[in-house]
Symmetry: D3
Subunit: 333 residues, 6 copies
C-alpha cells in the first residue's frame, strides 16, 4: 500500500507575467499556488504516495481556490483550515541567461502567519502517516508558525513518524522578533533527516568554520543532534538563469555519497527545484537504499527545472528513467 | 488652456478571472489598477483635462508598475510617492444576469493605508489646480488617510481650489477605530460639491428620516454645511447584473434637476461607473451649466458600463454625442 | 452533517472554440470536462454536500486529468476506475441569438461505454450515501452502462438510498441494439423521484396522448410505477440562444406546483442547465419542503446559464438569494 | 453542380483589440482579413457555392498569409496576384450599447490601390462563372481600381455572367480626384442587380427628392439604367451597438416586397453584415424565387451579427432554418 | 512549371497544452492538424511545389476544419473525402531537456481507418503528378488503409509516377491482425525511393544482422527489391529533448553519401522533423543531384525543429541558405 | 539630480506572432511600439535618467496609443506631435537556431516620414538636456526627417548638449532620392560620440580599405571629423538566432579598449539590443569613466537579449551586477 506523507506550511498565490515579460509589461498574471512544503507533498503524490498538506487559508473564494488547487494535484485537503483575511502571495518575474528571476513576497499578515499553537490536531493529522516534512521557511514566518511546527515535529516523534526538515539560511525572512539561531535548534534536534546547505549549517547552528566542506559540517551537525540519521545537500551551479547544474550529496554518519552532475541546459522554471529534491529524497529513502535515494532526489530535482509551476508533476517512470542514466529526453508515443 | 484636477486616494491592483469565469475556474488573472479617485482623474484626462493623482505605493516593481499604469492613462505621477511593503488589491469576479459580481479586497496594511499627515506637500500638489476630488473610501482606510485627506481639502480651500467629495455609506469598511459619523463631517463641511446617495446622507450625517427623498436630504445637508453649493446623486436600477438603468439628480440650493433614464442593456463592466459619473460631473461643472453638467455626468456614467476596467476611457466626443441623445451606438469609420 | 450524494455516468472532455468563434475559426480549444451526472455532483458539492462520482476513464494522462478536474471541483474520486483507451469527448461551438450552439459528440468506444456489470462495487459506493442520481443518457450509451446503472439503482433501493433519475427522450442516442422503450422502464420503476419532460413520458413509456399536459402525464407515470413519489419537470422557452426563460413544475401525487418564470436575458453558457436544475432539486428535497425545493431548483438552473462550463459553481447563498426573489445581480463587496 | 461566383476588391488585414477593449488598452490584436467583396465570396462558399476572389497583395509573407486566409475559407485564390509593398489595413475597436465601434483605415498606397487596367485577365477569371459581384468601395479606392472594376463588369456582360453591385454613399472615401457621381453611373448601368440604400440612390445619381421612399427611388434608378432587373435594400435600425433590427426590401420593376423585421438582441460583430446580406441575396436569386431570395438575404444578414470576423460562415441549414421562422437558436446536438 | 506531389494518409487533430505545461496543467489546448504524409505535402507546397493530399475525414464541422487547415497551408484538397464519425487525434505534451515529450494517440475507429479499397480513384488522383509519397504508418492503421495504399502505389507505378515510402518500425502500432512483416514487403517492392532507419530494415524485412551498418542494410534492401533506386536514412542524436543533432545518409546502389551534422541547440518542436526530411529529399531529388538532395533534406529537417506545429513552413530560401552553410540565423529585414 | 536625454526618430507599431509562430500561423499579433531612438530613451529612463522623445504620430487613437506606450515606459511625451495618417509599422517573425527572424517594414508615407524642418522647436526641446541622441535610420526615412535631425544636432551643438549618433549602413533603406554618402557626413561631423560598425565607416564615408580593422577606421573617422571624441563599436557573433556573443570596443583618440565577450546562450528577443548598447554607453559616459562606460554598454546590450520587446527595461542594479562579472542569473528574492 502506498506510503503517506504529511507536510505543513504556507501555500501562496503565485502570480507571474506570461513568458519572459517584466512586471512592467504584464497585463495579465499566470496564476498558480505554491509553497515549499506543499510542493513536496504534490511531488510525492504524483510519484504515487498518499499526501496531505496542513495549512490555513482565508475563508473566502480565494482560500477555497487555493484548496482546490491542492486537491486537483492529488493532495488530501481534509486538514486545511480557514481563518484570517489574506492569502500569502508571491510575484515571480522569470529571468533568462544573465537576467535573474525576481520574486516579490507579500505574506505579512497572511492567514497562515496568524496560525497559533493548538489550532492543528496533530494526532489526527499524523495518524497512519509514514513521514512528516517541514522546511525552515515555516518557523521564519511567525512565532505561531514556529510553535505549531514544533508541535507537529514532537507529535511525529511520539507517534513514530519519520521527520525531515529542509532548512536554509534566509536571514532576511526572520522578522517576528526571534532569530533563526534561537528557534531552529529545537526544531532540528527532533529530525531524522536534515536537508541543508553548508552555509545553512554554519550560519544557523554556528558549527564549523569558514573553509569547512559539507561532509565535515554534516558530521558536526549529527554530533550536535544525535537523532539525525542523514544530512543531505544539493550543489547547484548557476551557469546562468537558463542553465543550471546540480548534484546531490549525503552523509549518513558513516559514508559520504555524491551523485553525478546533471546538466539542465534549458531551464523552464527554476522555482521549486529544491522541493523536488526533498520530495525525491523522501520517496527514495522510503523505497530504496541511500545511494539510490540520492540519485532519485537528484533526478527529480533536475526534471523539475523543465516544468512550469512550483510543483514537480513528473511520473515515477520519468524519474527512474533519468536516474538510470537516460538523459536523451526522447519522445514517448 | 486645459483645466487641471488633483485626486487623492488608494490605487489597487485589480485581478480578475477572464470573461465570466468564477474564481474557482481561473488559471490566470487579467491585471489592471484602479481606485475611485484615480478612476476620476483618468476619466478626466481622457476628456482632455490635466490630471494628477496623489498616492503611495510600495517601492518595488509592483509599485512602479502601478505608477506606469497611471502614466499610460495620461496622469501626471509626479506626486506619487513610495513606501511600505504591500500594494492594495482587489479581486473581481464578474457576474451576469442574476449572478452578482463578487469583490474581495485585500487592502489592510497596504502602503497607502500607512500614509501619515505631513507626507504630502499639498501646496505643491495643488499649485495651478482647478479642482480637488476625494471620495469617502479614503478616510475609511486608516486614520492617517483620513487626516491626509483633510489636509488636502483644507489646503484646497485656502488656495481657492474647488473641492468635491463622493461620499457613500459603507459601514463595514470602517475598521480603524473611528466611525464614519465621527470622521466625515469635518471633511464634508469643506466641500463645494458633494456626491452622495440618499442613504449616505441619512446614515453618515443622521439627517432626514426614513421616507425622505433625495431633494429633501440634499437641502438638509446644504443647510448643515453651508459651503456646499451642490448635492448630486445618481439613481441606479439594477434590473440584473447585465442590465442597468441610471439617471442623475442634483440640488443646487434653488432648483432640483434630473436627467432622463439611460438604459444600459448589455453591461460589460459595472465597476467604476460611479467614478465616471463623478468625473463627468466635474468636467461638466467646469465647462457647462448645471443641467448640462448633470447630463454629461449621466452620459459618461452610462458609457463606462460598456468598457472593461475601472476607468472611463471614452472621448469627449462620445460623451457629447450620447448626452445629445444619440443612443444608437452606430459604428464610426 | 453534510448529506452525501452518489452519481454515475460518463464524463467527457469538453473542447470549445474561444468566445463565439466557429469551429472553422478555432486555433485553440478551451478545455473542461463534463457529463450530466457529474455536473449534478459538482453542483451539489458547491452547495455544501458531500459528493462522489462513479465513472471509468482510460488509464493515461488524459484520464488522470479528467479525474483531477473532478477532484478540483470537490468531488470524491475514490470510485473512479480506469480501463479502455479513449476518453469520451464533445465539441461545443457556442451560438448566439438566432445561431444555435452546435455539439459534436465522440463517445463511441469510450472507456465508459465499455463498462460492464460487476465492475462497480455498489455496496461500497453507496455506503453512507443519502441519494443516488442517474440520467437517461447512461443507459443509452451501451448495454453494459445500462446494466451497471440498474445494479446501482437496485443496490440503492436495497440500502435505503433515495434514487432520482433525470430521463429524456433522445432517440438518436440509442445505438447499441436496444430501444429506450425496452430499457428504461426497469430503471425508472425503482426511482423515488423522476425528472422528465412531457415528451419524455409520452415517448419512452407510451403514456398519455398528444394534447396531454405535464400533470396528467406525471399522474399516469406515478400510477404505472408506484414507487415514484414525485415527477418533476422544467419548461424552457428559448426566445433565442442568448435569451432563455425557465420555470419548474412538480406533481407529487397530490398537488401540482409551478414556480414563477425566470428570465435569463444574457445567456453565458446554456450547457448543463438541466443538470443544475436536477442538483437544485436534490438539494431542495433533502433540505426544504417540496415547493421550496422546486424554487431552489429553478433558481439554480437560472444561475447556471450565467456560468461558463458544464457545472454549476454558484454558492448556496447565491441560490437562496435568487430563490427569495432578488433578481438584481447587484455587486457584492 | 454548384454555381460559381467571382468577386473583386481589396482585402485588408483586420486588427482588433480583444473583447471590448479600447485601442488604448490593447497589448495584442486579433488578426483576420476582410473586405466587402471577399466577404461575399466567403459567405457564398460556406453556403456551398464555388467562389473565387480577384485581388492584389504585396509579394511578401503578409500577402501570402492573406491569401491563405481566403483559401482556408474555401475560396479559389488562383486569381490573386502580387505586387506593391503594403497590405491595406483596418483597425476595429468594438463598441457596445451606446459606445460606437470605431474603425481606422490605413489603405492609401496599398497594393490593391495601385492596381491598373489590364492587370486582370477577366476572360480567364470569368470563365464558367455564374455571377460577378462588386461593391462601391472598389471604385473609390483609386482610378485604377475603378477602371479594373469596369473592365470586369463589361467582360461579365459580354460573357453572359450576371452582375451585382452593392453601392453605398461614402463620400469621404473618394480621394483620388474623381467624385462618385462621375464614376459610378458607368459601373452601375451594366449591372443586373443593384443593392443600395435610398440615400445612395439619391446622392450618387441625383435621383428622387428629399422625402422619396425606397420604392420610388428604385423605380427611378431602373428607369435610368434599364439593364437593372432588381434594386434591393436593407433597413437597419440601430437601437444600440448591441441591438440591431434589420429587414430587406426589393423592387423588381413590378412589385415591391419587404421581409419581416429580424431582431438581433445581442450583437457579436456587426462588421460584414451588409456583405452577408448581399451574399444571401445572390444565393437566393440563383436558387429561389425573388421573395425567398430576399428572406434568405435577411436571415443571412441577421446571422452574421452573431459571428466574430468579417465573413458569414454559417451553413445553408442555419440560414434556411431562420428564414423559415425558427428564431429560437435552440442547441443542436 | 512547378512539379506536383501526391500524398496519402491519415490527418489527425493535434491537441497540445500551451508552452511546456503538463496535461495535468492544461485548461486549453492549442489546435492544429497533422499526419506524416500531409506534413510532407505541406512542406513541399511551402517550397513551391504543387501538392495534393488524399485522406478521409468525418462529414462534420471538425472534418471540414481539418480540410480547411490543409487548404490554408496550400494543399489541393479536391481528393479529400468524407465518411465515418471520428477524426483521429493525438495529444502532445511538449518535453524539455531530460523530460520527454509524451504523445497519446486516439485513432482507433477513425474515419481514415475505415477506408476501403476502391474508395479512391487513384488514376484521377495521380494524373499530372510527378511523385507519390506514403509512410509506414498508413498500412499499420487498418487493413483497408494498407490495401488502399497498395492500390495507390501500383497505380503510380503504372502511370510512371515516382514512389517514395518512409517506413519505420513501430511494432505496437500494428493491431489489426496482420504484422508489418506480412504487409510491408509488397508495398516497399514497388517503391523507387525508400527512407528507413537501420532498425526498420532489420525488423521489417529480417535483413542483415545485429551489428550491420546502414550502408550494408541498404544494399541488401536494394538487392531484395530491385526497383528501389535509393535508400535514405537520417541519424538523430538526442542529446536532450531540447538539443538534437542530425545528419542524412544515402545509398544509391553505387555510392554512400553522408551530410555534415547539424546541431539544433534549441528545439522548438521536434514533431514532424522526419517528415520535413522526407519532403526535403523529394524536393531535392526532383530539383538537384543526389548529394545536394541529401543536404537539402538535412537542412529542411534541421529547420523544422525550430517551428511549432507538424509541418515545415520554411521557405526555399531558408533551406538553401542553411544547406549552403549559413548557420547564423541572422535576422532578415 | 538625474541627467536628461533627448532622442528623435520614428516609433513604429510592432506586430509579432506569438512565440515562434510563422506569419502564416498567426491569428493574433502581440503589440508593442519601438524605434531605435525611443528604445534608447526608454532604456535610459529605466536606468534612472530623465528622457524625452521627439516624434510625430497620426492624430488618431493609434497615434495616441503609441504615445501612451512611451509614457508608460517613463518617457516625457510633451514633444510628441501629431499629423499625417499612418503609423509606421514593422512585423516581426521570431526565428530560432538556424531559422532567421524576419522583419517586414511598412513605413513609407508614415506620419513621421512626412516631418518637415521647422516642425520641432529644438530650443524648447533641448532646454535642460544633457545629451541628444539620433541614429542613422532617421535621415534614411525622408529628406524632411534628415533635415529635422540636422536641425536638432546643430541646436544641441549650439546649446552645449552632447550629441551621439548611432550610424549603420543600410543602403536599401535610402529611397527618398539622396544617398547615405551625401547626407550623413554633415550629420556626423557635429557629433561628439559616434557608434558605428567598421563597415559603416567604410561604406558611408569611404574611409579605410578592405582589411582595415575598427581601430584604424575609427582613427580615420576622428581625423575626418575632429569634433568626434569617441568612436564606439560592438562586435556580434551570431552563432545562431538563439545564441549570440557580443563585446564592445572603443577608440577615444588615444587608447583602444575592448570588453570581454558576453555569451548569450538563450536569446529571447534580439531586436533592440544595439539600442540597449547605445543607451548603456550614454549612461556610462555620463556617470563613469570610458572603460566602465563600455563595460556598462556591453552588459546592457547582453541583458536586452533576454527581454521581449524593443526596449531594455532592466534596472541599473541588473546592469551593474553583470558588468561586475556576475553572469549567474541567480534568482533574487
Amino acid at each position: 500500500m502506498a506510503k503517506k506523507v504529511i507536510t505543513f506550511g504556507e501555500v501562496m498565490m503565485r502570480l507571474s507575467p506570461p513568458g519572459y515579460s517584466k512586471f512592467a509589461q504584464a497585463t495579465s498574471f499566470e496564476l498558480a499556488y505554491g509553497g515549499g512544503e506543499a510542493n513536496v507533498a504534490i511531488s510525492l503524490a504524483y510519484l504515487g504516495m498518499k499526501a496531505a498538506h496542513v495549512t490555513r487559508f482565508p475563508d473566502n473564494a480565494l482560500g477555497k481556490a487555493a484548496t482546490q488547487f491542492l486537491r486537483k494535484h492529488w493532495l488530501s485537503t481534509e486538514h486545511v483550515f480557514y481563518g484570517g483575511d489574506m492569502l500569502g502571495k508571491y510575484f515571480l518575474e522569470k529571468g533568462a541567461v544573465h537576467r535573474p528571476s525576481e520574486v516579490i513576497y507579500e505574506r505579512e499578515g497572511s492567514s497562515f502567519s496568524l496560525i497559533a499553537p493548538g489550532m492543528v490536531d496533530w494526532e489526527a493529522v499524523l495518524k497512519d502517516a509514514d513521514w512528516f516534512h517541514w522546511t525552515g521557511i515555516t518557523p521564519a514566518i511567525s512565532e505561531g508558525a514556529a510553535m505549531c511546527c514544533l508541535e507537529g515535529i514532537k507529535t511525529a516523534n511520539r507517534m513514530g513518524v519519520k521527520v525531515s526538515g529542509d532548512i536554509n539560511s534566509r536571514k532576511n525572512m526572520w522578522k517576528f522578533g526571534k532569530s533563526m539561531q534561537e528557534v531552529m535548534p529545537e526544531l532540528v534536534q527532533n529530525c531524522d533527516v536534515v536537508i541543508s546547505s553548508s552555509r545553512g549549517i554554519r550560519e544557523i547552528f554556528g558549527l564549523g568554520k569558514a573553509g569547512d566542506r559539507f561532509r565535515t559540517l554534516a558530521e558536526q551537525l549529527m554530533y550536535t543532534f544525535p537523532r539525525i540519521e542523514k544530512v543531505v545537500g544539493k550543489t547547484r551551479k548557476s551557469i546562468s538563469a537558463s542553465h543550471q547544474q546540480i548534484h546531490g550529496k549525503m552523509w549518513d554518519g558513516e559514508k559520504y555519497v555524491k551523485t553525478e552532475r546533471l546538466n539542465i541546459t534549458h531551464v523552464i522554471d527554476r522555482v521549486g527545484t529544491g522541493d523536488a529534491f526533498a520530495a525525491g529524497l523522501i520517496y527514495g529513502l522510503l523505497h530504496y537504499g541511500d545511494i539510490e535515494a540520492l540519485k532519485f532526489a537528484s533526478a527529480a530535482c533536475a526534471l523539475k527545472h523543465t516544468l512550469p509551476g512550483d510543483a514537480n508533476m513528473v511520473s515515477l517512470e520519468n524519474v527512474l528513467s533519468l536516474m538510470q542514466g537516460d538523459t536523451s529526453g526522447a519522445i514517448r508515443r
